[in-house]
């Protein structure tokens, strides 16, 4: 079992090491510095010892000798300090840049994976991977570099010094010391499980707190404060139990290895003393031996200390690499069409599609749209309206059949060019952190001030923007506190107004805007889209009455189509939907 774990750990480590390649010269420099630092720290005591030998007693002090030694010592210490600083600087630089590389790669991966992946994964989890997990890797690398580098070199150095004094005693030290590694890894393995349990409970608590605090208003409305506190306390007490365990077991490492080291120290002392009694070594040699035995065991102690850190770094790296290993969308073919514009003839032929293999959502769907037509799509919740939009924009690829624009399969277009043919406004308003102006000019950063304002006016956003504290320079923050949902939607509309696209998709684009404003915006759209193709999804039937064609969808199929008048006359599903809005509490 240990072997299996070993096997799946190596590739992760290997992959991290690969990221170090561009920084090989920094790495070499860091290694050289590590060697220099360790050499300096090891020679320091030797020089001090020699100096002490020059101070024997009253009248027996060699001042010129001390002066010379002091010069040497100063040089060694200065060099040691300098190389130590340089080594830390190099490892910092390597770590932070490597981490940046991994992070940028992970992020750009997220922009190339199919939407299916992003829709299907918790965003919180993906964000954690890009932010915290990569941060954990960086901590692990920093610790790893500084402790492992100097540690390994110190071990090798002291080993050499000890062997040069006495081979037998050196062997004893070498044989006993790994015991501390064994103890450390024994504890690490146990505490690792406890840490995992602890972070699981902590995650559970985070989820619960988020749910309860995020919906505090509802909790209060239903008077559930006491009940939610009770549940919180239950999780909290579990967190206490496993927190105490995890913390206690992991903090065992240090005292335990210190104890083993103590045993080593005593062992060297006793064996050395026995050897000295038998005349095998001198007293002076015992004392340097003891000093080196101390030096030798310390890095083991430190290394075992970073084991936990490295463990969690590897675990985090695995989560990050899992994202990197996700297959990307198939790249656009070289010969893919990249038209600057399009006429707007859209054909959907025999299209079937399912998000989950077992639940077909759209089946054998057919639709012909001529340039300049205004197509409205209505139907009950979950009938596949939004899915159709996903397919038109090629956010998802169809399972069967084909969609074509201007007679050409959309899979033969470059994705960017295809999407540029559409202007899209969704129900979910998305703005990024930046000024109002930047948000409106998102698709055309080069747009002039006049164009931005004209777009805002067309979207009926100008008047509220003017009233914002800094007008067009007001920064929209994450929570969007100062701006209402409806106002956000107006900004999204302005954003599309500015691009004046050849085709338009409105998916519940005005659902948060009051109907008076909606009608004015509708007029602006009508003007902009004269002679161009547009698709409109809406709940409010009033907003689609003017459409050239109304598609009535139900369970992934078109059940009726025609214009408002003809559909009403037919007296089918549409008529029923339409009339139902006037039913209600009439009795």
């Amino acid at each position: 079992m240990a072997k299996i774990r070993q096997e799946d750990r190596t590739p992760v480590l290997g992959r991290i090491l690969k990221y170090l390649k561009p920084y090989w010269w920094l790495l070499t420099l860091a290694l050289l510095c590590a060697v220099a630092t360790v050499t300096c720290t090891l020679t320091g005591p030797v020089l001090v010892g020699r100096t002490v030998d020059m101070i024997v007693g009253p009248g027996q002090v060699d001042f010129t000798g001390i002066l010379g030694m002091a010069g040497w010592l100063a040089g060694v210490y200065a060099l040691g300090a300098l190389t130590q600083w340089l080594m830390t600087y190099c490892t910092n630089k390597i770590t932070y840049h490597t981490v940046k590389d991994i992070r940028v790669q992970a992020f750009s991966k997220l922009s190339t994976v199919p939407l299916r992946y992003i829709d299907g994964h918790s965003h919180g989890d993906l964000i954690t991977r890009v932010v915290s997990d990569i941060d954990v890797i960086s901590d692990g690398m920093l610790q790893g570099f500084s402790q492992l580098f100097t540690g390994v070199i110190t071990i090798l150095g002291t080993l050499a010094f000890m062997l040069s004094i006495n081979v037998k005693i050196a062997l004893v030290v070498v044989l006993i010391t790994p015991l501390s590694l064994f103890v450390a890894s024994f504890i690490a393995k146990r505490s690792h499980n406890m840490f995992r349990e602890q972070s699981a409970v902590r995650g559970e608590m985070g989820g619960y707190v988020e749910e309860m605090l995020g919906n505090q208003k509802i909790v209060k409305a239903f008077g559930r404060e006491a009940a939610s506190q009770e549940r919180f306390d239950e999780i909290n007490s579990r967190l206490y139990d496993c927190g105490v365990k995890a913390q206690f077991y992991s903090s065992l490492t240090n005292p335990c290895t210190r104890f083993v080291n103590g045993v080593v120290y005593a062992g060297v002392g006793i064996i050395g003393a026995v050897a000295a009694i038998n005349g095998a070594i001198t007293v002076g040699q015992i004392s340097s031996f003891l000093a080196y035995a101390n030096q030798y065991t310390k890095p083991f102690n430190e290394i075992s200390g970073v084991v936990t850190e490295l463990q969690s770094a590897l675990a985090s790296a695995r989560r990050v690499f899992a994202v990197l290993d996700e297959p990307s969308e198939s790249p656009d073919a070289l010969e893919a069409a990249r038209p600057a514009s399009c006429e707007g003839r859209v054909a959907v032929e025999g299209v079937s599609f399912a998000y989950e293999a077992k639940k077909p959502l759209i089946e054998d769907f057919n639709l012909q749209v001529e340039p300049g037509q205004r197509v409205a799509i209505v139907g009950p919740t979950g009938c596949g309206k939004t899915t159709l939009i996903n397919l038109l924009m090629r956010f998802y690829d169809v399972d069967k059949g084909a969609i074509s624009v201007d007679g050409k399969d959309i899979r033969d277009y470059a994705r960017g060019s295809l999407r540029a043919c559409y202007g899209m406004v969704l129900q979910d308003t998305w703005l990024f952190t930046g000024t109002v102006r930047e948000n409106i000019a998102y698709a055309r950063p080069d747009a002039s001030e006049e164009e931005v304002i004209a777009a805002a006016k067309a979207a009926h956003a100008h008047s509220f923007i003017k009233r914002l504290p800094q007008g067009y320079d007001t920064v929209i923050s994450e929570e969007g506190g100062s701006i209402s949902q409806g106002q956000k939607q107006l900004l999204c509309i302005a954003r599309v107004m500015l691009t004046s696209p050849p085709m338009l998709i409105l998916d519940e684009a005005t659902s948060n805007i009051d109907t008076r404003t909606e009608i004015r915006i509708q007029k602006a759209f009508d003007e902009m889209m004269r002679g161009k193709t547009s698709f409109i999804v809406a709940h409010r039937l009033s907003t689609i009455k003017e459409a050239d064609r109304i598609l009535v969808m139900r369970d992934g199929r078109i059940v009726e189509q025609g214009n408002h008048q003809s559909l009403l006359e037919r007296g089918g599903f549409y008529a029923e939907l339409y009339n139902s809005q006037f039913a209600g509490a009439e009795e």
Binding site: G262, G382, R516
Partner: protein, 574 residues
């Protein structure tokens, strides 16, 4: 930070025992070299093998006892730190529970979560370190200095110069790096922000083909973080080399001036070695002190973030004793004005009286103050001027919990909680029977789809109701409010995700219950409220008109405009 010290009081035992045992271990550590010296001086010199073995055994025994002491200390540290953390989390969560909407809006949910989890964690670490190290490191520094003075006070002046110098270095490095840690945290937050934006806006970004632009934005943010981290690293990397160079130069000074002292016969060679060892001891302890300083600085930042929550007072006080709400209620707004903390009045001088059992439609444009108005009834906010009366009594005079129990609310955003369908529906009435639930589901037009769920009432709902559609969530949220048969029912634009047919059926079913409760229907759809007993039209926080559909069509231009924008001329008068 001091304000949180009271949490340590409960763990007085651990806080005293832990460091004491740690100290014992440290003292043993100091004794071991002395014993080793004895082995060499007495054992080897005299060739006394049994003495060597005996003393060797004592060293191992000391190690064992030391290990025991260390374990006791670590256990105390674990118990006390986790205990403090657990209490803190409990108190924080409880305190947040007493805050009202205004404060929660102001603080923001994400920072509350961070404070309850990460900041408390930071404090836990500090408590553990306090117990484990806070006695030991200074003990070693002071102990070594005292021993040096005892050996030779003149040479110990070197210690008294080196010590403050090291402290100065520590202070300077901290002063230059600690503010940066905060900046780095902010830069990391920005990376999280861009990632979140990109995940949420994946469709829009792809639609505008802005992937390249977003990648560059992210690159700039990560590069910025890397640069700052390296810059801070450059300074903080100075800490170790600088302190060790000061200490090492002090050692050189000891050797040089020690030479004179030995030459004059004031000191022996062995004492010089001891002084050098004490100096090295101090160096090691100081490194630990530096780490402690960093941990406590971080902890004090966390402590102030935690205290900020404790210091936030709920603006809505529990209210009076009045709990005598019974049967359908009469609701009246008298000259009500309200402003969110941002300033401008969201409501101004609203006067509206609703008779028991009436259904009131509230209509108006985006931001007209519709939701704000109904939020005042259950006291989510208190009116800044004027009064809200239920059965003639000011809402502030009611016991808040009792008041809210009588009110059923369906919020704009339909939120469900982790648990089964039944558990969610029992939120307002934990002992509701299946019959009561079935009745509520029927009215909410949810009975049909719930029956189709794999485990019926026992079907689990994932966090945020992710496994249901928007319309299904909304209908369950309506049913949840109906289960308790509230005296006042508030529907805050709560049928937006329903298609017209379902919405109409829902309205019909609610209509059939008419008279059971006083109902407030907030909507943007004229069709949703046109049959209400009373319609209140809001425009920019003011009441633009009150009356029936027909009356308002005649008298209220705002209402007329709204209706005409949604319905055709013929439908309006139909």
């Amino acid at each position: 930070m001091l304000k949180l010290v009271r949490y340590l009081k409960e763990f007085r035992k651990q806080v005293i025992i832990g460091p004491l045992f740690k100290l014992t271990e440290a003292i043993f550590e100091l004794i071991v070299p002395l014993l080793m010296a004895k082995i060499i001086d007495d054992g080897v010199a005299r060739g006394d093998l049994p003495y060597v073995l005996k003393t060797g055994a004592v060293i191992v025994l000391l190690g064992l006892v030391g290990l025991g002491c260390a374990l006791i200390c670590q256990y105390s540290a674990a118990r006390a730190s986790q205990g403090v953390g657990t209490r803190l989390r409990h108190d924080l969560f409880a305190h947040v529970g007493t805050l009202s909407h205004a404060e929660i809006d102001k603080l923001g949910t994400s920072t509350l979560i961070n404070r309850i989890i990460s900041d408390v964690n930071q404090l836990q670490v500090a408590v553990a370190m306090l117990i484990r190290l806070v006695i030991r490191a200074p003990f070693l520094v002071i102990g070594s200095t005292v021993m040096a003075i005892w050996l030779d006070w003149k040479l110990s002046l070197i210690f008294l110069v080196a010590g403050p110098l090291v402290a100065l270095v520590l202070y300077q490095v901290m002063k230059r790096t600690i503010p940066f840690y905060r900046t780095i945290q902010k830069k990391l937050d920005r990376i999280g922000l861009i990632t979140r934006e990109n995940l949420e806006g994946a469709r829009v970004i792809k639609a505008f083909s802005k992937q390249e632009h977003e990648n560059q934005r992210f690159y700039a943010a990560s590069d910025d973080l890397a640069q700052s981290s390296v810059r801070v690293g450059k300074v903080s990397a100075l800490l170790n080399p600088l302190t060790s160079i000061i200490v090492n130069f002090a050692i050189i000074a000891i050797l040089w001036f020690g030479g004179f002292r030995v030459d004059s016969g004031a000191l022996t060679q062995g004492q010089i070695i001891a002084l050098v060892n004490y100096m090295t001891q101090i160096l090691l302890a100081l490194v630990v002190v530096a780490n402690l300083v960093v941990i406590f600085t971080k902890a004090s930042a966390s402590a102030s973030r935690v205290n900020e929550i404790f210091e936030t007072e709920p603006s809505i006080l529990p209210g009076g004793e009045e709990s005598g709400l019974s049967g359908t209620a009469k609701v009246a707004f008298k000259g009500v004005s309200f402003a969110y903390s941002t300033g401008e009045n969201a409501l101004e001088g609203v006067d509206l009286t609703v008779q028991p059992g009436q259904t009131v439609g509230i209509i108006g444009g985006t931001g007209a103050g519709k939701s704000t108005l109904v939020n005042l009834i259950p006291r989510f906010y208190d009116a800044t001027a004027g009064r809200v009366l239920i059965d003639g009594v000011d809402v502030r005079a009611y016991d808040t919990a009792a008041l809210r129990k009588k009110i059923g609310i369906v919020p704009q955003k339909s939120v469900l909680f982790t648990g089964t369908v039944r558990e969610n529906l029992r939120w307002g009435k934990p002992d509701a029977s299946d019959e009561e639930i079935a009745r509520a589901l029927n009215i909410a037009q949810a009975a049909e789809f719930v029956a189709k769920l794999p485990q019926g009432y026992d079907t689990p709902i994932l966090q945020g109701g992710k496994n249901l559609s928007g319309g299904q969530r909304q209908r369950l949220a309506i049913a949840r409010a109906l289960v308790g048969r509230p005296d006042i029912l508030i529907l805050d634009d709560s049928s937006s995700a329903l298609d017209y047919r379902t919405d109409a059926a829902l309205r019909a079913a609610l209509g059939a219950q008419a008279g059971e409760s006083t109902v407030f229907v907030v909507s943007q759809r004229a069709s949703a409220i046109r049959h209400a007993d009373v319609i209140a039209v809001l425009d920019d926080g003011r009441l633009a008109g009150v009356g029936s559909h027909e009356q308002l069509l005649e008298s209220c231009p705002v209402y007329r405009e709204i209706c005409l924008s949604q319905l055709s001329e013929e439908e309006v008068s139909r």
